[in-house]
Symmetry: C2
Subunit: 146 residues, 2 copies
DNA sequence: GCTTGACCTCAAGTTAGCTTGAGGTTGTAG
DNA sequence: CTACAACCTCAAGCTAACTTGAGGTCAAGC
């Protein structure tokens, strides 16, 4: 253990609680980068511990890896993010959260309007014909919460 | 078109807007059932139009097919659901929606408490170490909203 | 110098919710 | 009675976010 800041994938895994395979997966997806040792083993910067922490937090906030990648792009590579960096990102995430809550609340309001109506008629139902789109996109997981 | 109530898969698809392949998929998953014609073609009851409508609505409410199957089990097979049937199911769904909104709101509150703290420290962060579990389960899509 | 554990790559498997395609049959309009 | 649309059954593919496994390399202790 000399003075440099490089850590192995195993150490990064221990420090973050993220499995080794998941870290490799994140790297492959471009969420983090690594150097290589002489023997082709990955070497990460200590600051990657925070980068991974960020990924974990953002996931808990309901962001997908693609969205997280976008947010990560706002953070500095290799440097510990400042308060200001973090604020920018937090506010961006906060507005995404707001939108999701708002969508669910609109849906709930429609459901309340429908309870007891027994309509289930595709032509009239406000739930079935909403103007906003939950679970309407093409493929992949849609609108699933925990 | 004689007096009976049986419709083909194509008709069911047209009436609901759900693709033929999706209907077959739902049948395979046990969400709907079908009879067969002499030539082995599916024949559905007219009431299955409502059953499918219900699936669509429940999906918009954020339920997965497995959860929808559970809710469908509360509805009568072959009979048009009464107001009472529908109310029971609506209230069950409403409470699931409530739970999801509540979880998101707790998460947002934590984020607000964190904006500007710049911690990103795994040991201390309330976002990283929440007591409730969003996106914690084993596999599959987790905690993704539209 | 050998064993052991951490690491490497690449391929395939997992769940959800479907779609797409191949290859074959049915039903109906003309 | 023939054409053609609609139907049938598998099987495989798609996205997300990973895991698991096979088969091989690297590094360190004894």
């Amino acid at each position: 253990m000399n003075g440099n800041q490089l850590i192995s994938i195993g150490t990064l895994s221990e420090r973050t609680g993220v499995s080794v395979s998941a870290i490799r997966f994140y790297e492959q997806k471009g969420l983090i980068e690594s150097l290589r040792s002489g023997g082709n083993q990955r070497r990460f910067l200590r600051s990657d511990i925070r980068r991974i922490s960020f990924i974990l937090i953002a996931q808990k906030l309901g962001l997908g890896l693609a969205e997280i990648e976008t947010e990560l792009a706002r953070l500095p590579q290799g440097r510990t993010p400042t308060k200001h960096d973090w604020e920018k990102v937090s506010r961006s995430i906060r507005s995404q959260l707001d939108a999701k809550i708002a969508l669910l609340e609109r849906t709930r309001a429609k459901l309340d309007g429908c309870i007891g109506c027994g309509c289930l008629s595709l032509k009239n139902c406000r739930l079935y014909n909403p103007n906003d789109e939950a679970g309407e996109s093409g493929s992949g997981p849609r609108f699933v919460l925990g």
